[in-house]
């Protein structure tokens, strides 16, 4: 898995998609692979997470072996036209024309297509006779929209009449579907609705879209379970203990109940994923009890991901959690 070149990270909002993309890119770079982290949102959080200030309209080095790029559909389209129409004066005329302004707006999907095309360009780009990047990690837009992007090359190939776009769209679509090159990872939480959505997305991904699924990463997994009878004993003592002591024990019991509750939900949902996704390795990223999320936390996640990405594609649900033996 780690040898694949093009990694898309998908997931619904709020599950830690950008964090996972950043951790993955950090990990690849540390392994000596020349890595490009791409965000498909010109005002996203990925560059910040990797230590760069502000968006990066062109690949910008942020560390050893690691660069970041912010893509924007409109710019990608202009660049693309720049490649196919290499006369600057003509280009300027086109860009400033009202026809163009509205043509872009009137051809829905074109921007998405160009964005994915730009990723393809970076994935196939060579420098001094060898590929410019060993690995590309893409922080895709939230699930529904992200899938729209990934399916666009095929849609364009099928919809647009014969022409440059159709040819190129076909090439991009082929690359996205190549399991030796591409992996689409899904990030989720171990809760009912996110898991339901992930299962739907996964089915769509491998079915209708025929894209190579990567890992299903379950973020923020709670794993501590405290025996209810022990928690009850703490609560009993809390009732008889004086003032502050009682308050403290009460809070200890509350926290234990909360943690156990989440651990139970997470375990149940992980089981659902395990049952439904037979061929995919499931990755569990433990919940981090931090006051603030910083580079230390990102590092911790990268270390958790590392062994799980080494596993062969055919492996079944490799567990990350220490000592978990369910």
């Amino acid at each position: 898995m780690i040898q694949r070149k093009l990694h898309f990270v998908l997931g619904k909002g709020g599950v830690g998609k950008t964090t996972m993309a950043a951790a993955m890119a950090t990990l690849f770079a540390r392994r000596g692979r020349r890595t490009l982290a791409i965000e498909m949102d010109a005002a996203g959080r990925l560059p910040g997470m990797l230590g760069s200030s502000g968006a990066a309209p062109t690949p910008k080095a942020v560390g050893p072996n690691l660069s970041v790029l912010s893509l924007d559909g409109r710019t990608a389209l202009e660049e693309y036209l720049g490649l196919v129409i290499p006369v600057k004066r003509v280009l300027t005329t086109i860009f400033s024309s009202r026809v163009y302004q509205y043509f872009v707006a009137a051809a829905p999907g074109l921007k998405e297509l160009m964005t994915v095309g730009k990723i393809w360009y970076e994935a196939t780009r060579e420098e001094d006779g060898r590929p410019r990047w060993d690995a590309i990690v893409v922080d895709a837009p939230a699930t529904g929209h992200g899938l729209q992007y990934l399916s666009m090359p095929q849609v364009a190939h099928d919809t647009f009449g014969a022409g440059l776009v159709q040819r190129e769209a076909g090439r991009v679509a082929a690359l996205l579907r190549d399991p030796a090159v591409t992996a689409v990872h899904l990030v989720t939480l171990g809760e009912d609705m996110p898991v339901t959505e992930t299962l739907e997305t996964h089915a769509k991904l491998t079915g209708e879209l025929k894209l190579p699924a990567g890992r299903v990463i379950v973020n923020r997994v709670h794993a501590r379970r405290f025996a209810p009878e022990l928690v009850a004993r703490v609560r009993e003592s809390a009732a008889s203990a004086p003032g502050k002591q009682g308050e403290l024990l009460e809070a200890v019991a509350d926290r234990a109940t909360e943690e156990s509750g989440w651990a139970e939900i997470n375990a149940e949902q992980l089981e659902r994923l395990r049952n439904a996704l037979t061929t995919d390795a499931l990755v569990e990223v433990p919940f981090l009890y931090a006051e603030e999320f910083g580079s230390h936390e990102l590092d911790q996640i990268a270390r958790t991901l590392e062994p799980t990405l080494e596993v062969r594609t055919s492996g079944t649900g490799r567990r990350v959690r220490r000592g978990a033996t369910e």
């Binding site: 009912d192 501590r224 308050e247």
Partner: protein
């Protein structure tokens, strides 16, 4: 003012915020509250994921308003004096409905079959959001509802949501449409060449480059739909009237996580710019800090230095279980760290809010909220007296 008063005073409540913070759940819970309070309530979601349906105990929702049967509510021990209905928008269906409502009968079929239209209705960013607003206006104008709760798409899309009517209006600027509708478009390139060399050149280049050999089709689309776009401007103006009106309250739903709050700040500032200010804030999934519960003035922050003392206290309660005592102590301290970070961020966030904006905190329930009873349980936190 508290959130109960805010909801009571408004006919339209729009829940806005990032994804994954329980926005859909809060919207559904507010709607359920309205129904319990005796209002004829409808909740609209435009989130493409079918999350609301499951929150409401429905298997699927269509682009029609569907009533949640009183028997279903009663079956879960919920006594509602009003009614509860839900509407989940299906993007494609909403466009088709719009065409059917506004396009001349003879053009309908042609529009629906137009390849460009099919593209537009599926992929045009903002069109989806616009349809939701259109639906909101329809429901607001129908007079059938006392409370309309709207669940918006996640933050960045929420902005699309608010700006969609204006953008669509710009896009459909009449002069541009006229441009596309000009006969030479339908007549093809030969005619165009005669008219304007430059335009012809540009268009041909664009067509070659993109392969969208569909200009005639685009032209046909606009010609067929011209009736539909006639009163578009008026409808957009009306939509903004509703969104900015005194009957409408935007409620921000956010978790206290730092990245999520960052998005929330951005959303708030954008909404100010759009003259649609926030009227309430719901912090969802909050961890409470224990030390803050003690008497005022004696705020003592528990930290890692207290581990031995805490583990000792637990150990005395759990004789014979020293290992569990230490684990419980560590778990407690971990949650304190988490809670402290959240507390600081929420305080910081609230600095920017005026006193009239009610702020509620809903604790991080260790359970999924996805049935009606769970939605009802949220009421104790959402609508507690301030």
């Amino acid at each position: 003012m508290n959130l109960a008063e805010l909801v009571a005073k408004h006919r339209i409540v729009i829940s806005a915020g990032s994804g994954g913070v329980g926005k859909t759940t809060v919207a559904a819970s507010v709607a359920l509250w309205g129904a319990i309070q005796g209002r004829r309530t409808v909740v609209i979601t435009i989130d493409p994921a079918r999350r609301l349906a499951s929150s409401m105990g429905l298997d699927a929702l269509g682009s029609e308003v569907s009533e949640i049967p009183a028997s279903l509510l009663a079956g879960q021990g919920i006594e509602a004096r009003g009614t509860l209905a839900a509407l989940m928008l299906d993007q494609k269906g909403a466009w088709d409905a719009l065409v059917e409502r506004h396009a001349p009968a003879d053009a309908r079929e042609r529009i629906l079959k137009n390849r460009f239209y099919q593209h537009l209705s599926q992929a045009f960013a903002g069109s989806h959001e616009y349809m939701a607003i259109e639906q909101l206006c329809l429901l607001a104008e129908s007079g059938e509802w006392d409370l309309i709760v709207v669940d918006t798409p996640p933050t960045r899309h929420a902005l699309d949501f608010l700006e969609a009517p204006r953008r669509l209006d710009d896009f459909l600027d009449r002069s541009v449409i006229r441009w596309f509708v000009k006969p030479y478009f339908s007549a093809g390139w030969a005619a165009l060449q005669a008219v304007n060399r430059t335009a012809s050149f540009i268009l041909r280049r664009l067509e070659q480059a993109t392969g969208v050999g569909a200009l005639a089709e685009i032209s046909d689309f606009f010609s067929s739909m011209s009736g539909l776009f006639e009163n578009f401007h008026t409808r957009v103006a009306r939509a903004y009237e509703v969104l900015r009106g005194p009957e409408t309250a935007f409620v921000l739903v956010t978790s206290p996580e730092e990245q999520v709050l960052g998005d929330a700040e951005y959303l708030c500032s954008k909404m100010e710019e759009l003259a649609m200010p926030l009227k309430g804030v719901v912090f969802n999934r909050v961890h409470r800090e224990m030390a803050r519960k003690t008497r005022r003035g004696s705020v003592h922050e528990v930290d890692a230095g207290d581990f031995v003392q805490i583990a000792g206290a637990i150990g005395r309660a759990l004789t014979g279980e020293p290992r569990v005592a230490r684990e419980l102590a560590q778990n407690f301290l971990d949650y304190e760290v988490l809670a402290r970070g959240e507390q600081l961020r929420m305080e910081q966030f609230q600095v920017g809010l005026t006193d009239e904006v009610p702020v509620v905190r809903v604790p991080n329930f260790p359970r999924d909220v996805h049935d009606l009873q769970a939605l009802a349980r949220m009421h104790a936190h959402l609508f507690a007296a301030a």
